[in-house]
Amino acid sequence: MNYIFYFLIVISIIAGAANGKLSGVVNSILTGAELSVKVAFSLIGIMAFWLGIMKIAEKSGLAALIARAIKPVTKWLFNEIPADSPAVGDIAMSFSANALGLTNAATPIGIKAMEELQKENTDKTSASNAMCTFLAINTAGFQLIPATVIAVLIGAGASNPADIIAPTLIVTTIAFASAIAMAKLFQRFWRPQPVSPLPVREREEFVSEQSELTNPGEGSNGGTQ
Protein backbone atom coordinates (compact mmCIF):
# COMPACT_ATOMS: atom_id res chain seq x y z
CA MET A 1 0.00 0.00 0.00
CA ASN A 2 2.98 2.31 0.67
CA TYR A 3 4.16 2.03 -2.93
CA ILE A 4 0.68 2.36 -4.43
CA PHE A 5 0.09 5.50 -2.42
CA TYR A 6 3.46 6.99 -3.29
CA PHE A 7 3.33 6.26 -7.02
CA LEU A 8 -0.30 7.25 -7.46
CA ILE A 9 0.41 10.70 -6.06
CA VAL A 10 3.91 11.30 -7.46
CA ILE A 11 3.04 10.07 -10.97
CA SER A 12 -0.12 12.22 -10.91
CA ILE A 13 1.87 15.34 -10.04
CA ILE A 14 4.57 14.65 -12.64
CA ALA A 15 2.08 13.70 -15.38
CA GLY A 16 -0.09 16.70 -14.43
CA ALA A 17 2.89 19.03 -14.76
CA ALA A 18 3.87 17.47 -18.10
CA ASN A 19 0.32 17.84 -19.44
CA GLY A 20 -0.09 21.35 -18.09
CA LYS A 21 -2.89 20.14 -15.80
CA LEU A 22 -1.17 20.77 -12.49
CA SER A 23 -3.85 23.12 -11.15
CA GLY A 24 -6.47 20.49 -11.94
CA VAL A 25 -4.45 17.91 -10.02
CA VAL A 26 -4.20 20.22 -7.02
CA ASN A 27 -7.95 20.92 -7.12
CA SER A 28 -8.65 17.19 -7.28
CA ILE A 29 -7.09 16.79 -3.82
CA LEU A 30 -9.97 18.79 -2.37
CA THR A 31 -12.71 17.14 -4.44
CA GLY A 32 -11.24 13.68 -3.76
CA ALA A 33 -11.10 14.30 -0.01
CA GLU A 34 -14.69 15.57 -0.02
CA LEU A 35 -15.82 12.60 -2.05
CA SER A 36 -14.22 10.08 0.33
CA VAL A 37 -16.06 11.53 3.32
CA LYS A 38 -19.28 11.57 1.30
CA VAL A 39 -18.79 7.90 0.42
CA ALA A 40 -18.11 6.99 4.05
CA PHE A 41 -21.11 8.97 5.30
CA SER A 42 -23.39 7.46 2.69
CA LEU A 43 -22.25 4.07 4.01
CA ILE A 44 -23.09 4.81 7.66
CA GLY A 45 -26.85 4.31 7.48
CA ILE A 46 -26.83 1.26 5.21
CA MET A 47 -23.91 -0.29 7.15
CA ALA A 48 -25.81 0.14 10.39
CA PHE A 49 -28.95 -1.39 8.87
CA TRP A 50 -27.32 -4.48 7.37
CA LEU A 51 -25.05 -5.16 10.32
CA GLY A 52 -28.16 -4.91 12.50
CA ILE A 53 -29.99 -7.46 10.34
CA MET A 54 -26.90 -9.70 10.25
CA LYS A 55 -26.67 -9.57 14.05
CA ILE A 56 -30.17 -11.08 14.19
CA ALA A 57 -29.13 -13.76 11.68
CA GLU A 58 -26.10 -14.51 13.84
CA LYS A 59 -27.99 -14.72 17.14
CA SER A 60 -30.79 -16.86 15.71
CA GLY A 61 -28.28 -19.40 14.38
CA LEU A 62 -29.31 -18.79 10.76
CA ALA A 63 -25.80 -17.61 9.81
CA ALA A 64 -24.30 -20.80 11.23
CA LEU A 65 -26.87 -22.84 9.31
CA ILE A 66 -25.90 -21.19 6.00
CA ALA A 67 -22.22 -21.64 6.84
CA ARG A 68 -22.78 -25.36 7.41
CA ALA A 69 -24.68 -25.72 4.12
CA ILE A 70 -21.82 -24.38 2.00
CA LYS A 71 -19.06 -25.96 4.08
CA PRO A 72 -17.62 -28.19 1.31
CA VAL A 73 -16.91 -25.18 -0.90
CA THR A 74 -15.56 -22.89 1.79
CA LYS A 75 -13.44 -25.62 3.30
CA TRP A 76 -11.60 -25.90 -0.01
CA LEU A 77 -11.42 -22.16 -0.71
CA PHE A 78 -10.55 -21.01 2.80
CA ASN A 79 -8.58 -23.95 4.12
CA GLU A 80 -6.82 -21.78 6.72
CA ILE A 81 -9.87 -20.72 8.72
CA PRO A 82 -11.97 -23.01 10.94
CA ALA A 83 -15.07 -24.30 9.13
CA ASP A 84 -17.37 -23.07 11.91
CA SER A 85 -16.03 -19.49 11.87
CA PRO A 86 -18.76 -16.83 11.57
CA ALA A 87 -16.72 -15.45 8.66
CA VAL A 88 -17.91 -18.35 6.47
CA GLY A 89 -21.60 -17.38 6.68
CA ASP A 90 -20.77 -13.72 6.07
CA ILE A 91 -18.64 -14.56 3.03
CA ALA A 92 -21.49 -16.63 1.56
CA MET A 93 -24.07 -13.87 2.18
CA SER A 94 -21.78 -11.18 0.77
CA PHE A 95 -21.04 -13.22 -2.34
CA SER A 96 -24.73 -13.93 -2.98
CA ALA A 97 -25.59 -10.23 -2.55
CA ASN A 98 -22.84 -9.30 -5.02
CA ALA A 99 -23.94 -11.90 -7.55
CA LEU A 100 -27.48 -10.48 -7.43
CA GLY A 101 -26.10 -6.96 -7.89
CA LEU A 102 -27.16 -5.82 -4.40
CA THR A 103 -24.06 -3.74 -3.70
CA ASN A 104 -25.74 -1.89 -0.83
CA ALA A 105 -26.05 -5.11 1.12
CA ALA A 106 -22.87 -6.77 -0.17
CA THR A 107 -20.41 -4.14 1.09
CA PRO A 108 -21.49 -4.03 4.76
CA ILE A 109 -21.71 -7.82 4.99
CA GLY A 110 -18.36 -8.16 3.20
CA ILE A 111 -16.73 -5.79 5.69
CA LYS A 112 -18.16 -7.84 8.54
CA ALA A 113 -16.60 -10.93 6.93
CA MET A 114 -13.24 -9.15 6.87
CA GLU A 115 -13.59 -8.35 10.59
CA GLU A 116 -14.24 -12.02 11.33
CA LEU A 117 -11.27 -13.05 9.16
CA GLN A 118 -9.07 -10.54 11.02
CA LYS A 119 -9.82 -12.43 14.26
CA GLU A 120 -8.24 -15.55 12.71
CA ASN A 121 -5.33 -13.59 11.23
CA THR A 122 -1.88 -14.26 12.69
CA ASP A 123 -0.41 -10.90 11.69
CA LYS A 124 -2.88 -8.04 12.16
CA THR A 125 -1.10 -5.66 9.77
CA SER A 126 -0.84 -7.95 6.74
CA ALA A 127 -3.53 -9.72 4.74
CA SER A 128 -4.08 -13.42 5.45
CA ASN A 129 -4.49 -15.90 2.58
CA ALA A 130 -8.18 -16.19 3.46
CA MET A 131 -8.62 -12.41 3.15
CA CYS A 132 -6.81 -12.30 -0.19
CA THR A 133 -8.92 -15.18 -1.48
CA PHE A 134 -12.13 -13.48 -0.34
CA LEU A 135 -11.13 -10.23 -2.05
CA ALA A 136 -10.02 -12.09 -5.18
CA ILE A 137 -13.56 -13.47 -5.40
CA ASN A 138 -14.92 -10.01 -4.69
CA THR A 139 -12.82 -7.99 -7.13
CA ALA A 140 -13.53 -10.50 -9.89
CA GLY A 141 -17.02 -9.03 -9.69
CA PHE A 142 -19.19 -12.06 -10.36
CA GLN A 143 -22.66 -10.85 -11.30
CA LEU A 144 -25.70 -12.69 -12.63
CA ILE A 145 -27.55 -9.69 -14.08
CA PRO A 146 -25.69 -6.45 -14.88
CA ALA A 147 -28.73 -4.31 -14.00
CA THR A 148 -27.01 -0.89 -14.05
CA VAL A 149 -25.38 -1.53 -17.42
CA ILE A 150 -28.68 -2.64 -18.96
CA ALA A 151 -30.39 0.45 -17.53
CA VAL A 152 -27.82 2.70 -19.26
CA LEU A 153 -28.26 0.80 -22.56
CA ILE A 154 -32.04 1.21 -22.35
CA GLY A 155 -31.56 4.90 -21.60
CA ALA A 156 -29.38 5.25 -24.70
CA GLY A 157 -32.08 3.59 -26.83
CA ALA A 158 -30.66 0.11 -27.40
CA SER A 159 -32.89 -2.07 -29.58
CA ASN A 160 -32.15 -5.26 -27.65
CA PRO A 161 -30.32 -4.43 -24.38
CA ALA A 162 -30.74 -7.96 -23.03
CA ASP A 163 -28.36 -9.43 -25.63
CA ILE A 164 -25.39 -8.46 -23.48
CA ILE A 165 -26.57 -10.73 -20.63
CA ALA A 166 -25.25 -13.98 -22.11
CA PRO A 167 -21.75 -12.68 -23.04
CA THR A 168 -21.48 -10.90 -19.68
CA LEU A 169 -22.32 -14.12 -17.88
CA ILE A 170 -19.68 -16.03 -19.86
CA VAL A 171 -17.02 -13.37 -19.26
CA THR A 172 -17.80 -12.90 -15.57
CA THR A 173 -17.59 -16.68 -15.08
CA ILE A 174 -14.19 -16.82 -16.82
CA ALA A 175 -12.86 -13.92 -14.72
CA PHE A 176 -14.26 -15.48 -11.54
CA ALA A 177 -12.79 -18.92 -12.24
CA SER A 178 -9.40 -17.48 -13.08
CA ALA A 179 -9.44 -15.35 -9.92
CA ILE A 180 -9.97 -18.49 -7.83
CA ALA A 181 -7.28 -20.37 -9.75
CA MET A 182 -4.84 -17.49 -9.28
CA ALA A 183 -5.73 -17.21 -5.60
CA LYS A 184 -4.85 -20.88 -5.12
CA LEU A 185 -1.62 -20.42 -7.06
CA PHE A 186 -0.50 -17.22 -5.35
CA GLN A 187 -1.32 -18.67 -1.96
CA ARG A 188 1.16 -21.45 -2.63
CA PHE A 189 4.02 -19.41 -4.04
CA TRP A 190 3.80 -16.02 -2.33
CA ARG A 191 6.00 -15.49 0.70
CA PRO A 192 3.90 -16.78 3.61
CA GLN A 193 2.90 -14.82 6.69
CA PRO A 194 5.13 -15.50 9.70
CA VAL A 195 4.05 -18.76 11.27
CA SER A 196 4.23 -19.02 15.01
CA PRO A 197 3.78 -22.22 17.01
CA LEU A 198 2.13 -20.23 19.82
CA PRO A 199 -1.64 -20.48 20.25
CA VAL A 200 -3.63 -17.65 18.64
CA ARG A 201 -4.21 -15.58 21.79
CA GLU A 202 -0.53 -15.54 22.78
CA ARG A 203 0.49 -15.10 19.19
CA GLU A 204 -1.51 -11.86 19.00
CA GLU A 205 0.37 -10.38 21.92
CA PHE A 206 3.63 -11.62 20.51
CA VAL A 207 2.94 -10.01 17.13
CA SER A 208 1.93 -6.66 18.60
CA GLU A 209 5.08 -6.56 20.70
CA GLN A 210 7.13 -7.46 17.65
CA SER A 211 5.61 -4.73 15.50
CA GLU A 212 6.42 -2.17 18.15
CA LEU A 213 10.04 -3.28 18.21
CA THR A 214 10.72 -3.53 14.51
CA ASN A 215 10.88 -0.60 12.17
CA PRO A 216 7.54 -0.31 10.35
CA GLY A 217 8.00 -1.04 6.66
CA GLU A 218 10.77 -3.50 7.34
CA GLY A 219 8.56 -6.27 8.69
CA SER A 220 9.64 -9.76 7.75
CA ASN A 221 6.09 -10.68 6.74
CA GLY A 222 4.62 -10.65 3.20
CA GLY A 223 5.56 -8.12 0.56
CA THR A 224 3.97 -4.71 0.39
CA GLN A 225 1.99 -4.46 -2.79
Binding site: N19, L51, G52, K59, I111, K124, A127, G141, P167
Partner: protein
Protein backbone atom coordinates in the same frame (compact mmCIF):
# COMPACT_ATOMS: atom_id res chain seq x y z
CA UNK B 1 -34.97 -12.01 -13.65
CA UNK B 2 -36.23 -8.53 -12.80
CA UNK B 3 -38.59 -10.14 -10.31
CA UNK B 4 -35.65 -11.99 -8.77
CA UNK B 5 -33.70 -8.75 -8.28
CA UNK B 6 -36.75 -6.96 -6.91
CA UNK B 7 -37.57 -9.66 -4.37
CA UNK B 8 -34.04 -10.66 -3.33
CA UNK B 9 -33.55 -8.10 -0.55
CA UNK B 10 -37.11 -8.11 0.84
CA UNK B 11 -37.14 -11.91 1.07
CA UNK B 12 -33.71 -12.01 2.78
CA UNK B 13 -34.97 -9.51 5.36
CA UNK B 14 -38.24 -11.42 5.95
CA UNK B 15 -36.41 -14.75 6.33
CA UNK B 16 -33.85 -13.36 8.80
CA UNK B 17 -36.46 -11.55 10.91
CA UNK B 18 -38.90 -14.49 10.95
CA UNK B 19 -36.16 -16.98 11.79
CA UNK B 20 -35.02 -14.67 14.60
CA UNK B 21 -38.57 -14.36 15.96
CA UNK B 22 -39.11 -18.13 15.91
CA UNK B 23 -35.79 -18.65 17.73
CA UNK B 24 -36.90 -16.03 20.32
CA UNK B 25 -34.05 -13.61 19.58
CA UNK B 26 -34.71 -10.12 21.02
CA UNK B 27 -34.96 -8.62 17.51
CA UNK B 28 -34.84 -4.94 18.35
CA UNK B 29 -31.94 -5.23 20.81
CA UNK B 30 -29.91 -7.46 18.50
CA UNK B 31 -30.52 -5.10 15.57
CA UNK B 32 -29.39 -1.97 17.41
CA UNK B 33 -26.38 -3.81 18.82
CA UNK B 34 -25.23 -4.73 15.32
CA UNK B 35 -26.10 -1.29 13.93
CA UNK B 36 -23.74 0.37 16.40
CA UNK B 37 -20.83 -1.57 14.89
CA UNK B 38 -21.89 -0.42 11.43
CA UNK B 39 -21.58 3.21 12.45
CA UNK B 40 -18.13 2.63 13.91
CA UNK B 41 -16.86 0.79 10.83
CA UNK B 42 -18.11 3.43 8.40
CA UNK B 43 -16.28 6.16 10.32
CA UNK B 44 -13.13 4.03 10.73
CA UNK B 45 -12.65 3.60 6.97
CA UNK B 46 -12.56 7.38 6.29
CA UNK B 47 -8.72 7.74 6.52
CA UNK B 48 -8.23 4.80 4.14
CA UNK B 49 -10.84 6.13 1.73
CA UNK B 50 -9.27 9.60 1.75
CA UNK B 51 -5.85 8.11 0.92
CA UNK B 52 -7.07 6.01 -2.01
CA UNK B 53 -9.80 8.28 -3.40
CA UNK B 54 -7.60 11.42 -3.32
CA UNK B 55 -4.83 9.44 -5.04
CA UNK B 56 -7.20 8.22 -7.75
CA UNK B 57 -8.77 11.67 -8.24
CA UNK B 58 -5.30 13.18 -8.70
CA UNK B 59 -4.39 10.40 -11.13
CA UNK B 60 -7.51 11.00 -13.22
CA UNK B 61 -7.02 14.78 -13.23
CA UNK B 62 -3.37 14.49 -14.30
CA UNK B 63 -4.08 13.15 -17.78
CA UNK B 64 -2.02 10.03 -17.06
CA UNK B 65 -4.92 7.86 -18.26
CA UNK B 66 -4.72 9.44 -21.74
CA UNK B 67 -0.96 8.75 -21.76
CA UNK B 68 -1.48 5.06 -20.93
CA UNK B 69 -4.13 5.04 -23.66
CA UNK B 70 -1.65 6.25 -26.28
CA UNK B 71 0.79 3.52 -25.29
CA UNK B 72 -1.84 0.76 -25.41
CA UNK B 73 -3.66 1.91 -28.56
CA UNK B 74 -1.54 0.00 -31.14
CA UNK B 75 -1.95 -3.28 -29.21
CA UNK B 76 -5.72 -2.90 -29.01
CA UNK B 77 -5.91 -1.98 -32.68
CA UNK B 78 -4.58 -5.42 -33.51
CA UNK B 79 -7.37 -6.99 -31.41
CA UNK B 80 -9.99 -4.84 -33.23
CA UNK B 81 -10.98 -3.04 -30.05
CA UNK B 82 -12.66 0.31 -30.84
CA UNK B 83 -10.53 3.19 -29.54
CA UNK B 84 -13.35 4.60 -27.40
CA UNK B 85 -13.46 1.42 -25.26
CA UNK B 86 -9.87 1.90 -24.08
CA UNK B 87 -10.57 4.51 -21.34
CA UNK B 88 -13.16 2.09 -19.99
CA UNK B 89 -10.50 -0.59 -19.43
CA UNK B 90 -8.16 1.81 -17.63
CA UNK B 91 -10.79 3.52 -15.49
CA UNK B 92 -12.77 0.42 -14.48
CA UNK B 93 -10.46 -0.83 -11.66
CA UNK B 94 -10.04 2.73 -10.31
CA UNK B 95 -13.50 4.22 -10.08
CA UNK B 96 -16.99 2.72 -10.48
CA UNK B 97 -18.75 6.03 -11.09
CA UNK B 98 -16.14 7.16 -13.63
CA UNK B 99 -16.41 3.82 -15.47
CA UNK B 100 -20.19 4.19 -15.60
CA UNK B 101 -19.68 7.71 -16.94
CA UNK B 102 -17.33 6.46 -19.67
CA UNK B 103 -19.77 3.69 -20.55
CA UNK B 104 -22.83 5.93 -20.88
CA UNK B 105 -20.74 8.33 -22.96
CA UNK B 106 -19.88 5.47 -25.35
CA UNK B 107 -23.51 4.31 -25.44
CA UNK B 108 -24.72 7.81 -26.34
CA UNK B 109 -22.02 8.92 -28.79
CA UNK B 110 -21.29 5.64 -30.62
CA UNK B 111 -24.89 4.44 -30.38
CA UNK B 112 -26.38 1.92 -27.96
CA UNK B 113 -26.40 -0.78 -30.65
CA UNK B 114 -22.77 -0.24 -31.70
CA UNK B 115 -20.08 -2.84 -31.18
CA UNK B 116 -18.17 -0.42 -28.92
CA UNK B 117 -21.17 0.01 -26.61
CA UNK B 118 -21.74 -3.75 -26.37
CA UNK B 119 -18.11 -4.49 -25.65
CA UNK B 120 -17.95 -1.74 -23.02
CA UNK B 121 -21.21 -3.05 -21.48
CA UNK B 122 -19.83 -6.57 -21.13
CA UNK B 123 -16.59 -5.21 -19.62
CA UNK B 124 -18.44 -3.02 -17.13
CA UNK B 125 -20.84 -5.78 -16.14
CA UNK B 126 -18.20 -8.44 -15.55
CA UNK B 127 -15.60 -6.59 -13.47
CA UNK B 128 -15.26 -4.72 -10.18
CA UNK B 129 -13.69 -1.50 -8.92
CA UNK B 130 -10.64 -3.35 -7.60
CA UNK B 131 -8.86 -0.41 -5.92
CA UNK B 132 -11.98 0.80 -4.17
CA UNK B 133 -12.91 -2.67 -2.91
CA UNK B 134 -9.39 -3.24 -1.55
CA UNK B 135 -9.29 0.19 0.14
CA UNK B 136 -12.67 -0.24 1.83
CA UNK B 137 -12.30 -3.87 2.89
CA UNK B 138 -8.69 -3.72 4.08
CA UNK B 139 -9.24 -0.24 5.54
CA UNK B 140 -12.09 -1.54 7.68
CA UNK B 141 -9.72 -3.91 9.50
CA UNK B 142 -6.65 -1.68 9.37
CA UNK B 143 -4.49 -3.82 7.10
CA UNK B 144 -1.81 -2.05 5.08
CA UNK B 145 0.19 -4.97 3.67
CA UNK B 146 -1.99 -6.36 0.89
CA UNK B 147 0.32 -9.26 -0.08
CA UNK B 148 -1.06 -10.81 -3.29
CA UNK B 149 -4.58 -9.31 -3.18
CA UNK B 150 -3.91 -6.44 -5.62
CA UNK B 151 -1.98 -8.59 -8.10
CA UNK B 152 -4.81 -11.13 -8.34
CA UNK B 153 -7.48 -8.41 -8.48
CA UNK B 154 -5.83 -6.60 -11.40
CA UNK B 155 -4.91 -9.82 -13.23
CA UNK B 156 -8.53 -10.98 -12.95
CA UNK B 157 -9.65 -7.65 -14.46
CA UNK B 158 -7.18 -8.09 -17.36
CA UNK B 159 -8.34 -11.65 -18.00
CA UNK B 160 -11.95 -10.43 -17.87
CA UNK B 161 -11.25 -7.70 -20.44
CA UNK B 162 -9.47 -10.15 -22.76
CA UNK B 163 -12.34 -12.62 -22.41
CA UNK B 164 -14.80 -9.80 -23.14
CA UNK B 165 -12.92 -8.91 -26.33
CA UNK B 166 -12.89 -12.54 -27.49
CA UNK B 167 -16.50 -13.36 -26.56
CA UNK B 168 -17.87 -10.13 -28.06
CA UNK B 169 -15.95 -10.45 -31.33
CA UNK B 170 -17.34 -13.98 -31.57
CA UNK B 171 -20.95 -13.11 -30.70
CA UNK B 172 -21.44 -9.64 -32.17
CA UNK B 173 -19.40 -9.56 -35.40
Amino acid sequence: MNILSLWALPSIIIIILTFGLVKKVPLYEAFTEGAKDGFKTAVNIIPYLVAIIVGISMFRASGAIELIGQVLAPVLNKLHVPAEVLPMMIVRPLSGSAALGVFSDIAHTSGADSYAAKLAAVMAGSSETTFYVLAVYFGAVGISKLRWALAVGLLADCIGFLAAILVCSWMFT
